[in-house]
Structures are given as C-alpha cells and as structure tokens.
Symmetry: C2
Subunit: 253 residues, 2 copies
Amino acid sequence: MAMMAAKRCESGVCGHCVQPCVLGTLSSGLRLDLRDFPELKERHLARGDYLFHTSGSFESLYAVRSGMLKVTVLTEDGREQITGFFLPGDLVGLDSVGLRHHASSAAALDDTVVCELPFSVLERHGQSVPRIQAALFRMLSGQIRREQSTLLLLGSLRAEERLAQFLIDMSERAHTDADCGTAIGMPMTREEIGSYLGLKLETVSRTLSKLHREGVIEVIKRGVRIRELNKLRLLAGLSVRKPAPSALRRLGH
Amino acid sequence: MAMMAAKRCESGVCGHCVQPCVLGTLSSGLRLDLRDFPELKERHLARGDYLFHTSGSFESLYAVRSGMLKVTVLTEDGREQITGFFLPGDLVGLDSVGLRHHASSAAALDDTVVCELPFSVLERHGQSVPRIQAALFRMLSGQIRREQSTLLLLGSLRAEERLAQFLIDMSERAHTDADCGTAIGMPMTREEIGSYLGLKLETVSRTLSKLHREGVIEVIKRGVRIRELNKLRLLAGLSVRKPAPSALRRLGH
DNA sequence: CGTACAATTGAAACCAGTCAACCATTGTGG
DNA sequence: CCACAATGGTTGACTGGTTTCAATTGTACG
C-alpha cells in the first residue's frame, strides 16, 4: 500500500538518505512507519526557504527526508535564536502541538525535502492504533530530552566543550554512511552555530581554528571531518569509550 | 465519583493550593481533570526526599499539588544540572515517557505533595478518550516550549537579565494568591538557582543583592517580593505592558 | 551553644564578547 | 571579462562580565 505512492514518500529505505525512512530516531524501540500514512505529501525547499513561520497556523508535523532545517524562536525584543538543527529522520514541529499557531519558525539550510504529516491525521490514527499513540508520545518526550541535553550544554560548558559536543552530536546524527571517514556536512553559518550554542560567531570561528590547528578536526568550507574522535570526546568532557565498533547498525533490519 | 476518594486526590479546588487541582497549566484550552482517574494515590515528600531517581524505572507521571520540586539531569562526568523547578499544577516526568528508566531525577525542595498518575493508565485512557490524548499531547509539547524558553535564556541573556526573567517567571507561575503583594516562596538555594540559570552561586547572590540595593525586589531569607515589576521587566528585556492593574493601588503610589 | 551549611562580599584571573581590519568566495552588472 | 559589492570567515587587540578563590557573616538544627 505504500508502493502505490507516486510522488509521495516511499516507505522503507530512502533513495538519497541511507537510514530507513521512518519517523523518530529519537529513542529506541518502535518507530512510526510512514506506511501507516498513505496520503502524505512531500515538500521541497530551496536553501533559505521557510517551512513555516512563527504565528503561522499549525497544521502539520514534518519529517525531514534530506537536507537540513534550522528551527528558531523569537525573543520579546526581536532577536532570534536557533533551538535546533533537524536532520534526515528528525521530526519538526513538535513544539507547536496543541497550539493554533506555530511557536517557532523553520527554514532550510540547504535544499531540503520533507514529508508533511497533518497533525489531525496523526491524532486520529493515534486514537485507533495504540502503537501510533505511543510513538507520538515517545517522539514528544524525545524532543524534551534532546532539549534537556542542550540545556546542560548551555548551562555548564565552555566554548570549546560546546563545539566539541556539537560536532560529536552532529556526526552521530548525520547517518551519512558514517564509515566514509566521519565527514559531516555543515550547511549553516558560523553565526548560526553560535546562535545554537550560545556563542558569538567569532568565538565559533576561533574555536574551530584551534581544533583544526591541534589536528583534531579538519575544516573544509561548509563541512567538518573528525580526525581524532577520542581527543574530541576528551575536549567535550565525554568518556572515551568505543575503540571502533563502527556504524554497524546501518541496515539494521 | 470523585468525592468518594478518601486519602486520595480530590478534584476541584485543593485544600492548601488555591488553583483548581487539574493537570496542565501549560497551555490554555482543555485540561486534564483528575476526576477521570479515580484510582490515584498521593505521595508526601519531605524536604530533600527524592520522588524518583535517574535510572529508576519509569512508571508514572506526577502532578504537583503543593510544595516544589527540582528536576536534575546528570552529565557524563557526574555533574548535575537543574532543568526545571516544578510548582503546584505542574506535571513532572514528561521527559521519561517512552523510556523504561527515568531520564532525570526529581527531589523535593520543600514539603511537597504529589498525585501519582501511572502512565499505563494515562495511555489507556488516552486511547479511548480523545480529550485525554489531546491533553497529554498538549502537556508534552508545552514542556518542550518551556524548555525552549530556557534555551533562549541561557543562550543570550546576561546574569541580571536571567535572574530578572527567572523571578518574573516564578512569580507568574506561583499562583499563590498573586494579589497579596507578589511575594514568592523560593525554597531553593543560590546554588540551585545558579544551576538552573547557568550561573555560579556567587553571581546569583551578587545579582540579587544588586536588585535589592536598587529597590526592585526585596529579599527575605528564602523568599522574594517584587517591588517594582516594571523595572524588573525592563531589566529582563521584556516589554513593560500593563502599567498598573492592581499592584500599584495597594502600594499607594 | 556549637557545628554545618548557606549566603554575602571582595579581589584577581580568565574566558568570551566587542570592535575592527582583512581575506575569500560568490554573484551581479557594466 | 572584469570590477564591484555583498556575504561569510578569519584573526588581532582590547574590554568586560563571570568565574574563581578566599574570607567573613548569617542562619538553621542537632
């Protein structure tokens, strides 16, 4: 029933992204399978396009299929801060559930494809299918936990530690064939990284330069390659486990 | 069927907390009414008692009825940070939904009473009652939004602005008969405030002293009274709406 | 009453922010 | 095709807010 979808989201393995195209990479266990939603629409965004704006009416969640999104919130005095970067497999819009209008904005940092999931449909399916209700609960709480980690980062880490953790987090989430040398695509600007990490763009630039100078990473214009993961983990204040059980969960099923 | 509950949570208005004893003060609209759950147990905590520990098995959410809780998460290297303070009307434990073990710890900052809401029961009711499923969704996303606000605070505000916003937030959430002069009970230590705000305890102390010196607030051992809400809002970088609905006439300005 | 804990305050060190100059890349229009 | 502007990135010098270290006072509880 999924393969009949023509210009629609296919289930199973995506064409251009390696990981299986399901929702919720947030927690282990059951995931929400797109096969449960035959009437899904895709949306294609060019770099800079907005997926939704703050105060726009909330209708849907969006599953990122390729590319990258930034989600921003506004302060009362007009400044904006990035609260998260969303990669393929992530679900965007969870912070607006239960509201009539979006609590945040989402913009593409790169050419990006998303699947639109009308929330009313999710709600309806959740009502009749316990597995779906549970999956939605899990994704919502997973988002809470991810933000808690960011709270920890912003609350107690220094610039270098923040950057190191950020790079590790991005590299773990970018399931882009992690074997090929742990290179991460980073389409966002220094200022956007800084906005997310609570740092100024100069500090981000300086710190990346320092990590580069020390041979821990390699900075290639809009990308980063991790050369010494263990050193990076050390700088991030993380334990230096796993000598090399490489990404073996690739095609898990 | 609610009034038959003896040592159980009553519905309607609480004895010692003023606000109606419903779950979810997070967003407007429908709320989750305790009358829907006849089999609820109360738990009484003394100052310092833990409601649950990180890695303890997750079974229930808890609705705070009186007192105050702090929720903490652990870094990999053992330090702990407070991710939130929970007041009467708040729901604790949402960050662990979908997990077998708690993602955080919760401890009482004061003598505290909570209602235990077994999550399996909530899930079951959510399955059959759309209103309850929606209420759970709303509470989960509300928690996301609250943490987003904290991200904003940690990411871009200076110490004085953080404290000012914190005091305003606490005073708005402490629905303790807000008329009686806007005095807030603050059972937590300076260090705990600092942990939440990403500041050291000395900075918290210094900043509170400064606000006191300037006549904006009054610091009474473990409590704070806001004397000049508008000045405080100014320092917090918030708009200075509502010139003087009620507070001013009482203070005889 | 004394111990332990919390809070306050001061002085010095330090990390990140600010201001500013310069370089690299990209895209635009003459 | 080149000149040019615009944007993003890098780096340096300086400033300043927070942290750190330390000493003192205040408060709660046995």
